[in-house]
């Protein structure tokens, strides 16, 4: 097989037609690095929109009565908040942004396996997102939650719900294209001589994630198409008044949407595994067990979906099966956390923003994981299901987990993306208010859920007013925390210290080229990095080995 992407880029004709400079970020660029940054910036814009919606929810909840917005608008806002944060921010950024930027470097390729499909996958996102948000202004957005359970999704105004379905179908399609591309790149574009078990951990995380994407996203697509038939053509797949079964929808929906949690979290696990060794100057602890635990999470992640349905129409045997399966996910996940702590142990840890956000992730995610194991227990879940306890739990997983890792990754790779360093003091300040604000916002919600506050309500028992105001104060801090971050990002492009090729002295291949990297990724042949984590006082020669390997030319085989 020929090395298709490199030839495509090296042939000047297709690339030379593309705009140069900042304009290329608004073009149908085929460069995986441009596409990665397109995903990142686009995702961040949607994060700000989703964050504004979250602020609106928290403002509504500072008082126990529904007084800030109309009740149906409140339901639209919570539906949009969930959908935007999942499908337009976390999934595209932890997969699309960092995956596209890093995976070709890590496998020693000059681009993704299918560059055009890659650009198509990205360019499906902005129209889908715009359509979703504009539905609020044109017809009123969907108001049945991001889960869109029928019959509610069939009986609420149809236009908004249909637009929601089309957007999610487009975003799911984009995700599937991306998943296929990552699988092909990791399996087929590895530089000759590079073995699978020598790949950086993020490749393994993306490999596992892409398997989940390719297996489960089509199920969501099929389900939503059937739901749209129920809405526009009055079929009866899920409509009980026409003989449909509402519980089947929940099974099909969660068959995708539980793996979706791992689609948001496994890449984050991979990114942390890249960041910690560099800043601790220590090898990643337990590489092999890390790989196996990712694969175990992938397999188990496919057979736990019904734990979202414990209080639904679920017979006792099913409740118990899914309790056991879900509980066991804690084992491979636990291994990963112990391994990260062991990676910190005995290191020379630079206490910079990237490390602080990664450690914040470990602390938040451990708490989210513990409440997750508790929620997996049927008797426990029967009390707190669909309450603020669950809201707190999954925000600890997706915000305290994935979003903290996204920030950590931006602090870590910004020098590579732009060639400039970020301001560390601003970064540490950003971490501090994010961490305090996040925990102030979500920790009290555990208590709210246990004591009787259901989720997705605009009005609640007045006894919960004070704790809700505390939570809203935390949300205010989180909103404020984006200001130092944005300021840091923008001013560092112009005024940041010049980073140089390898400011952190990392060993993974993206650091063995200029910052920002050339279109071909390396000016010379791709380096063969067989020990991506070869740090450590005893193995000092490892660095010299990899740098000498750099000059060795790759044996391109036909």
């Amino acid at each position: 097989m020929t090395f298709v992407p490199s030839s495509e880029i090296n042939n000047n004709s297709p690339q030379s037609l593309q705009p140069k400079g900042w304009l290329r970020y608004f073009s149908f660029s085929l460069d995986h690095k441009v596409i990665g940054l397109q995903y990142l910036v686009c995702g961040f814009v949607f994060y700000l929109i989703g964050g504004a919606l979250a602020s609106a929810i928290r403002i509504e909840l500072t008082s126990p009565i529904s007084d800030f917005m109309a009740r149906d608008v409140y339901n639209q806002v919570l539906t949009l908040h969930g959908t935007i944060m999942i499908f337009l921010w976390i999934v595209p950024v932890v997969n699309g942004a960092f995956g596209n930027y890093l995976i070709p470097f890590y496998v020693g390729a000059r681009d993704m396996a299918f560059p055009r499909l890659n650009a198509v996958a990205f360019w499906m996102i902005p129209p889908a997102g715009l359509m979703l948000i504009s539905s609020y202004f044109i017809t009123g957005a969907a108001q049945s939650g991001w889960t869109a359970y029928p019959p509610l999704s069939i009986t609420t105004p149809a236009a908004g719900q249909i637009i929601w379905i089309i957007s999610v179908l487009l975003l799911g399609g984009s995700s599937i294209f991306g998943g296929i591309n990552f699988l092909a790149t990791i399996l087929k574009l590895r530089r000759p001589g590079l073995k699978l078990m020598q790949l950086p951990m993020y490749c393994w995380a993306m490999f596992g994630t892409s398997i989940l994407v390719v297996l489960s996203t089509p199920v969501l697509a099929g389900t939503l198409i059937l739901l749209s038939f129920d809405i526009v053509a009055h079929t009866g797949f899920f409509n009980p008044s026409l003989g449909g079964n509402v519980i089947v929808y929940q099974h099909l929906f969660w068959f995708y949407s539980h793996p979706a949690v791992y689609i948001m979290v496994l890449p984050a696990f991979g990114l942390v595994s890249e960041i910690l060794p560099v800043h601790c100057k220590k090898p990643l602890f337990g590489y092999t067990t890390m790989v196996y635990s990712i694969m175990a999470i992938v397999v188990l992640g496919l057979v736990v979906w019904a734990h979202h349905m414990f209080t639904s129409g679920t017979p006792p045997w099913m409740r118990l099966f899914f309790t056991i399966a879900t509980s066991f996910i804690a084992v491979p996940t636990g291994i990963k956390f112990f391994n990260w702590v062991a990676t910190l142990w005995g290191g020379k840890i630079s206490l910079n923003s990237a490390v602080l956000f990664s450690c914040g992730f470990i602390i938040n995610f451990v708490l989210g994981g513990i409440t997750g194991v508790a929620l997996a227990q049927v008797p426990f879940d029967i009390h707190v299901h669909d309450t603020y306890f669950v809201v707190a739990h999954f925000h600890y997983i997706v915000y305290g987990g994935s979003v903290f890792v996204i920030f950590s990754s931006i602090y870590h790779w910004y020098p590579k993306f732009t060639g400039k360093m970020l301001n560390e003091n601003l970064g540490r300040f950003h971490f501090l208010i994010t961490f305090v604000g996040f925990n102030l916002c979500f920790a009290p919600q555990h208590w709210l859920g246990l004591n009787g506050m259901p989720r997705r309500v605009a009005e609640y028992d007045p006894q919960f007013t004070f704790v809700n105001q505390l939570s809203s104060l935390g949300a205010l801090l989180m909103a404020i925390s984006t200001i130092p971050f944005l300021w840091n990002i923008i001013q560092s492009i112009f005024k940041g210290e010049v980073a140089g090729d390898n400011p952190w002295e990392g060993l993974t291949p993206e650091w063995l080229t200029s910052s920002p990297p050339p279109v071909e990724n390396w000016n010379g042949p791709a380096p063969l990095v067989t020990e991506p984590y070869g740090y450590g006082a005893v193995k000092k020669e490892a660095l010299d080995e990899t740098t000498t390997n750099k000059t060795e030319s790759p044996k391109q085989t036909e």
């Binding site: 529904s66 339901n75 220590k282 602890f285 337990g286 112990f338 142990w345 840890i349 984590y533």
Partner: protein
């Protein structure tokens, strides 16, 4: 070792002494609280342990100013990795078996489709799709208590409770203390959920698929009934009250409200 002992003692103390739960007003609530205390203790030990390890590592192994050099070249440690695979596996297995035991004591493993709703107005045998259902005939033989059947209908945005005994239709659930209540629930429109935090029980109320929920209240008082499944704009306002009263008070409520029909025997 000392640190581990302190950690376990601290976690247990937190788990047993910090009360995060509301009042308990049904027979299965104390069983739930027992599970909660165990999970809370284990969780507190694990969380404080990990928190301590991360903070300790960050302080102890931080790079001091002007310090160069690298960490130790430690790539793994098989016995250690086996240990921290085995410990969570054992903990998880214990938690799983324990919560199975709790679930069984709450009546969760009873055969739902044997519940004796045959003396209710619905004569046709309908499949029960979910819920917590101690078969009422078993309860009869165990305690000699005749369970109180109630038919629950949920709609946007209210619960309706129908007592076949006396043919009472009410928006407020009245139940006598100490007597098992057997509810059969169905929705008229979208999915709702019946939740009483003080009973530690919740069950979705689904259109087209009846579910059941059995409980025995054991504390007199008024407790909120909350809809816990997004059901439309007024979801937050879909609340009712369950009134647990002494048997005498309940009987007088029942006789005051029942329709004096000849069919009642």
């Amino acid at each position: 070792m000392l640190a581990v002992a302190c950690l376990i003692a601290g976690g247990l103390w937190i788990g047993l002494h910090v009360n995060l739960l509301p009042d308990s007003a049904s027979v299965n609530a104390p069983i739930y609280d027992e599970l909660f205390k165990v999970l809370f203790s284990i969780g507190a030990i694990l969380f404080l342990g990990m928190l301590g390890l991360v903070i300790y590592s960050l302080i102890r192994f931080r790079r001091r100013d002007g310090e160069t050099g690298e960490g130790i070249a430690l790539e793994g440690n098989l016995p250690l990795e086996i240990l921290w695979t085995a410990i969570p596996a054992v903990v998880v297995l214990f938690v799983g078996l324990y919560s199975y035991d709790i679930y069984e004591r709450m009546g969760g493993m009873e055969n739902m489709n044997q519940s004796s709703h045959d003396h209710s107005s619905m004569k046709t045998e309908q499949r029960i799709w979910g819920g917590i259902g101690a078969s009422t005939s078993q309860l009869d033989s165990q305690r000699g208590l005749n369970p109180l059947p109630v038919e629950v209908t949920a709609m946007q945005f209210a619960f309706l409770f129908h007592y076949p005994q006396g043919d009472i239709l009410t928006g407020e659930l009245h139940v006598p203390i100490g007597r098992p209540v057997s509810m059969k629930m169905e929705s008229n429109d979208v999915i709702h959920a019946f939740w009483v935090p003080e009973f530690r029980l919740k069950q979705d109320v689904i259109p087209g698929q009846p579910t059941i929920l059995n409980f025995t209240p054991n504390k007199v008082g008024k407790y909120p009934i909350i809809c816990a499944e997004l059901c439309g704009p007024y979801h937050g306002g879909m609340r009712s009250t369950v009134v647990v009263e002494e048997p005498d008070a309940f009987d007088s409520w029942l006789s005051k409200n029942s329709k004096q029909t000849a069919s009642e025997t």
